[in-house]
């Protein structure tokens, strides 16, 4: 084996000499001399591949990458939008809740105010009623007193006339004068010209 | 020597390339310089030898070439 390798190495070195180096157009040159046909084919092959890569492959791939980036960014944007929508809904809900609370408290306030008003009204009404009743009573009492006073006056007149006639001995009842006398007396009494000791309320 | 500017790598100094790529690239560039120096100045020495019919200029050219190669490598890649 070792011999093979050394022979090979020797041949490799020797091959630069000219016979059978594999290079050049007839395979006899140095291995680093190109074969014209292969060089042309190589350039054409690279040209075709580069052309395809330039015209078809890279544009398609780059467009796809751009779309992918856009899709990822779009997805994120969508998520952001959804989040924003959720936040808006929450805000709206909260504002509605706050509004409802405010409304409820307003209603309560109104109710309280109304209640207070009703109570005040009722009180006023009651007061008015009470006043009225009191007034009525006062009026009635006044009327009764008037009546009592009138009846008392006539009674007192009659009594005094009776008394006087009993004292005088003659009936004064039918006398116009007597009537006038009693009335005059009573009028004087009322006007304060005569101070009654025990007559009055 | 004038003061050296710190920005001399071929890609403009700021190297953000990953380790393996950078290593392969650097190795290839350094090999290029190491070949270029002795070859260029060896050839110049050889030409001068032929012109002046001397024999010592080619080895001197090769040695100078190696030194210059190393200097350029140091200049481009060897400094922080």
């Amino acid at each position: 084996m070792l011999a093979h390798v050394t022979t090979l190495a020797g041949r490799l070195v020797a091959s630069g000499g000219g016979e059978g180096g594999g290079g050049g157009n007839d395979g006899t040159g140095l291995p680093i001399l190109p074969h014209t046909g292969e060089l042309i084919f190589g350039i054409i092959a690279i040209g075709i591949i580069l052309f395809v890569a330039w015209k078809k492959v890279v544009p398609a791939m780059e467009q796809m990458y751009a779309e992918r980036t856009a899709a990822i960014e779009g997805g994120m944007k969508q998520a952001e939008e959804a989040q924003a929508a959720a936040a808006a809904a929450k805000e709206q809900y909260e504002s509605q809740l706050a509004q409802a609370r405010a409304e409820a408290s307003q209603i309560r306030e109104n109710a309280r105010a109304e209640g207070a008003q009703i109570v005040a009204e009722m009180r006023e009404q009651a007061n008015a009623e009470a006043g009225r009743i009191t007034e009525n009573a006062t009026k009635q009492i006044a009327a009764e007193r008037q009546q009592a006073s009138a009846s008392l006056r006539s009674e007192v007149g009659r009594l005094s006339t009776d008394l006087a006639s009993k004292i005088v001995g003659e009936s004064l009842h039918d006398e116009v004068r007597s009537k006038g006398t009693v009335d005059r007396f009573l009028a004087e009494l009322e006007s304060g010209q005569i101070r009654p000791e025990k007559v009055g309320n | 020597m004038s003061p050296a500017s710190p920005n001399l790598t071929p890609s403009g100094g700021k190297d953000e390339r990953s380790g393996f790529s950078r290593g392969s690239d650097l190795a290839a560039q350094i090999v290029s310089y190491l070949i270029a120096g002795p070859l260029t100045f060896g050839a110049i020495g050889w030409g001068l030898d032929a012109l002046l019919s001397t024999h010592f200029l080619r080895p001197i050219g090769i040695i100078v070439g190696v030194a210059l190669s190393m200097y350029v490598i140091w200049l481009r890649y060897g400094r922080p």
């Binding site: 093979h4 090979l8 490799l12 059978g20 074969h35 690279i46 395809v52 | 050296a4 210059l68």
Partner: protein, 266 residues
């Protein structure tokens, strides 16, 4: 005793009969039309072209946001070149150069893999013409970019690193120009060629050696052939790694050269 005797005799025998692989084996003419000679690597190149175009078109046809299975696998390759090579090496303007880098990568990768493809077993990239063709495209591309970006004189000025003493400028310029115009394409082409050439040669050594041992009269040699074929198989696996790596390095350096030419002046 018997083993060493067998080995010695084997060595003697092989010196007479065994013909190992030689660089000439890579030259495989098929038809000669006079004005052009068709060789087997040329047919393989046609296959590579068809295969590359088919992969690209099938992988990117109806490219959709949610990839199909085929598109998914194609995207792995495309993404590797796009993000791992082009963007890393060229920088923000990398999209312009994607067709070039990706096409070259696929071409070199398939050319290399042809070494391990059954029934083909012959990498076009082990023929110097193919690396030269690929390098020529890179060479034209990065110098075009450089001259366009910096202007004719500006590009030459751009090659010399800043911070040099004026006396050093011409010397360093000579070195840099040689690197830019000569050594870079040379190493780019020869690296690919050498790797593929040597790798294929190595496999040939084991396979041809195994074959020779297998058909040898000596029974011990037949036993050894198993080892030789086994090594050939291991080398084949190893070579697939090298093939992919070399395609990567080729595309990486192509992108790096363009990135250098595209870089802003310092």
């Amino acid at each position: 005793m018997s083993l060493s005797a067998a080995l010695t005799s084997g060595a003697v025998v092989t010196a007479d009969e065994f013909t190992g692989p030689s660089p000439a084996d890579f030259y495989q003419p098929m038809w000669d039309f006079g004005w052009i000679e068709i060789t087997r690597p040329m047919l393989v190149l046609v296959l590579v072209t068809i295969l590359a175009c088919w992969i690209m078109l099938a992988g990117s046809r109806n490219a959709s946001v949610v990839p199909s299975k085929g598109q998914f696998y194609f995207e792995q390759i495309y993404d590797f070149v796009r993000g791992g090579i082009a963007r890393d090496m060229i920088g923000p303007n990398y999209k312009k150069y994607l067709p070039l880098i990706f096409g070259l990568f696929l071409f070199v990768l398939l050319s290399n893999l042809m070494a391990s493809t059954p029934f083909v077993q012959n990498p076009p990239s082990a023929r110097i013409a193919v690396p030269i063709a690929a390098t020529a495209v890179v060479y034209i591309a990065y110098h075009y970019v450089g001259f366009k970006k910096h202007g004719f004189l500006g590009y030459f000025k751009f090659m010399v690193p800043a911070g040099l003493a004026p006396a050093m400028v011409p010397v360093i310029f000579l070195l840099e120009a040689a690197t830019f115009f000569l050594i870079r394409p040379l190493t780019l082409a020869l690296r690919l060629f050498g790797n593929m050439f040597a790798g294929h040669m190595l496999i040939l050594v084991f396979v041809l050696g195994g074959e020779f041992l297998l058909f040898h009269d000596n029974w011990l040699f037949k036993l050894f052939s198993v080892g030789a074929f086994g090594m050939g198989f291991l080398m084949q696996i190893f070579e697939i790694l090298i093939q992919a790596l070399q395609a990567y390095v080729f595309a990486l350096l192509a992108a790096s050269y363009i990135g250098t030419a595209e870089a802003d002046e310092h």
